[in-house]
């Protein structure tokens, strides 16, 4: 499995670049360059591309040997700093997205989740909100 396996955070298939090859703890992966993976700008498209794998369609969450939290009707989304910080920094097995999503993309996907799946938080999520939490 790298399951040969492990992954980059900035550019897909940067694995063969000097920067990653220098970190022997981050095994390299084979491939032919593809550029940046998350090119989407709309919140719904970003959700499908980056979040849906775990949080599932409609923010339903999922159960296995542990769980992926549901985002539908999620009172934790009330304060926008919570989802912004989670997306930036990750949590437990959730990866940080700070290096793969721009401030604009994070604002868009957080705004989407806060106004979808039975969530109705109407206060605006701005790029500056993300910037402020990025430090």
């Amino acid at each position: 499995m790298k399951l040969t396996w492990v992954l980059s955070c900035v550019l897909l298939f940067e694995w063969l670049s000097a920067a990653h090859a220098a970190d022997a703890m981050k095994p390299s992966l084979p491939g032919v360059g593809q550029g940046k993976a998350f090119v989407q700008t709309d919140g719904d498209e970003l959700y499908a591309a980056a979040c849906q794998v775990c949080h599932m369609p409609e923010g339903a969450g999922a159960q296995g040997a542990a769980s992926y939290p549901a985002l539908a009707k999620d009172p934790r989304l009330k304060a926008k700093v919570f989802p912004i910080a989670r997306v930036l920094n990750g949590s437990k097995a959730m990866p940080p997205f700070r290096d793969v999503l721009s401030d604009e993309q994070i604002a868009a996907v957080v705004a989407y989740v806060r106004s979808s799946f039975g969530n109705h938080y109407t206060d605006r999520v701005s790029v500056d909100d993300v910037k402020a939490l990025r430090q």
Partner: protein
């Protein structure tokens, strides 16, 4: 052998073999291995031969959580040492991520979608690990011990494709063409620089002459150090009209791809994987599927294993460990298991959500690692067109499409009948995106993208199955996402024995994360230390 080695065998009157025998006699197998490594006889793996733990205090109970590689090795070796071992696993099968899907298998991913594998008899997909490098001596040793037959895995196939959807009209190139041309162009450039005396620093006049000879040979350059269409270069990259017999047409040299096109298309990147230590030849796969070895070990320890056991809580006190679990199929039937010690091989993606009382530093490590994403999709084809039409026998095609790789079966070469291709092997952010799609869409995408490289998909595709590792209920990710910074922060804390609990698994290996060897070495190391702690107090 280094002359400065403290074990230097250059002393007169002593042969290296004698020295090794002496070391082995005095210090045991592990020291012998270390000495061999120093002398350059053995290298690469820190596997030091079969462990021999003995003298377990009578009646000492160990609970092993997880029946993947790490858990199976721990169970087997601790049982042999005399411990009373019990194993719990979430899945309804042994092997963890070392898993093989065959016709008739059913797989339900997180989110609830169930796939039925419709492969014909004898065909399979290894959704997780699928190759065993020659230097993964731990895995190889267990495969040998349990009589598992290996066959070659074609990591580098000179006739497989390298594909850029945005260059060469989207038509794939052959690996041999890309490699010969890239080497040839680089050799030509370097020869030019050498001839212009631009390599003054570090290369003597005499070495420049030697370098030119080497470059001409390595790059298949002509007498003027030019890389161009010729029989010499066609011997590397292949002919336009290949060699024949009788009155067949005479061979025709092929035309190299320009350096500019190679650089702008990034195709050169596909030359590197087979040169990386973990993928170098020789590299193997078990005949019949990657689960063959875990299954064989599993038969040996079957009576110790409880499947479908969903662990909810791991509580230690100063006398032992209590593990609480339910039936993973129903979520019901709560049970508890009490043991003196616990070897926990549950992936951190899952363990980070369980109720476990360990010290602060270990707890921080358990919660400190994200998990990587990977997607594999297997596609059954009516016929082995990659062999019959394209002369591709095993190996991997690399592409810039989201499927990233197409891999051909490394078995049953040149046989008539059906075959299963690996139609997608995606990592990284693109794998997260693929994994977010339903299995049916992932399969359909694999077919649609693959058709760009192999138009035969359109007529020969029959059925498929897709595994997205973040949606595998007993794994919830492909492998721990270590980097050097995280390793400095958490690794040692995670690997310590915490009271009565020790963690093991590929996530506790240095640079072998996601490899079965990482799980084996981690497990052997953990149980050796645990045994020492138990025996010595």
């Amino acid at each position: 052998m280094t002359a400065n080695s403290p074990l230097s065998a250059d002393q007169p009157g002593m042969k290296r073999r004698d020295l090794l025998r002496m070391i082995g006699t005095i210090a045991g197998g592990s020291a012998l291995y270390n000495a061999m490594a120093t002398l350059g006889f053995a290298a690469d793996s820190q596997y030091a031969g079969p462990i021999k733990l003995s003298g377990a205090p009578a009646g000492t109970r160990v609970v092993v959580l997880g029946a993947g590689w790490a858990g199976l090795v721990a169970a087997l070796e601790l049982r042999d040492a005399g411990y009373e071992v019990q194993v719990l696993d979430f899945n309804d099968r042994i092997g963890g991520r070392a898993w093989t899907l065959r016709g008739g298998d059913t797989y339900t991913e997180m989110g609830g979608e169930t796939q039925h594998c419709e492969f014909d008899s004898g065909l399979y997909l290894n959704p997780g690990p699928w190759r065993i490098p020659y230097h993964h001596r731990g895995v190889l040793a267990y495969a040998k011990r349990f009589n598992v037959t290996l066959e070659p895995f074609m990591m580098v196939n000179y006739n497989a494709y390298v594909h850029s959807s945005k260059h060469f009209g989207g038509k794939p190139k052959r690996f041999r063409e890309v490699q010969a041309d890239f080497h040839g162009h680089v050799a030509e450039l370097l020869a030019k620089a050498t001839n212009k005396q631009q390599l003054d620093e570090g290369v003597t006049r005499e070495d420049q002459e030697k370098l030119l000879v080497a470059l001409r040979s390595w790059g298949a350059l002509d007498e003027n150090y030019v890389y161009k269409a010729s029989f010499e270069t066609s011997e590397r990259r292949g002919y336009e009209v290949n060699k024949g017999g009788g009155l067949m047409p005479a061979p025709v040299a092929s035309t190299p791809i320009s350096l500019q096109d190679l650089l702008s298309s990034n195709l050169w990147q596909a030359l590197n994987p087979g040169q990386i230590h973990q993928w170098q030849s020789s590299i193997f796969q078990p005949v019949g599927g990657m689960d063959m070895t875990p299954k064989a070990i599993g038969r040996e320890v079957q009576s110790l294993v409880t499947l479908n056991a969903h662990v909810k809580q791991i509580k230690q006190d100063d006398k032992g460990v209590t593990v609480s679990y339910v039936d993973s199929r129903t979520g019901k039937d709560p049970r508890q298991l009490r043991a003196d010690w616990c070897v926990c091989t549950i992936p951190l993606s899952i363990l980070s959500q369980l109720d476990i009382n360990v010290g602060g530093p270990m707890a921080a490590g358990i919660s400190g690692l994200a998990y990587e994403s990977a997607v594999k999709t297997g596609l059954q084809m009516k016929r082995r067109f990659w062999e019959e039409d394209d002369d591709i026998y095993g190996g991997i095609t690399f592409t810039d499409l989201p499927i990233q790789q197409i891999a051909y079966p490394n078995t049953a070469f040149n046989k008539p009948g059906k075959g299963v291709l690996l139609g997608t092997f995606a990592f990284g952010d693109a794998a997260l995106t693929l994994a977010g799609m339903s299995p049916a869409v992932r399969v359909r995408q694999a077919v649609e993208y693959g058709t760009q490289i192999h138009p035969q998909y359109a007529t020969d595709y029959e059925n498929g199955i897709s595994v997205a590792w973040h949606r595998v209920p007993g794994a919830m990710g492909c492998a721990a996402a270590w980097d050097s910074e995280l390793m400095a922060k958490h690794y040692n804390n995670l690997a310590q024995i915490d009271g009565r609990i020790v963690l093991a698994g590929d996530h506790l290996s240095r640079g072998l994360t996601g490899w079965q060897e990482g799980a084996v070495l981690s497990s052997l190391d953990a149980i050796t230390r645990l045994h020492k702690r138990i025996v010595n107090g």
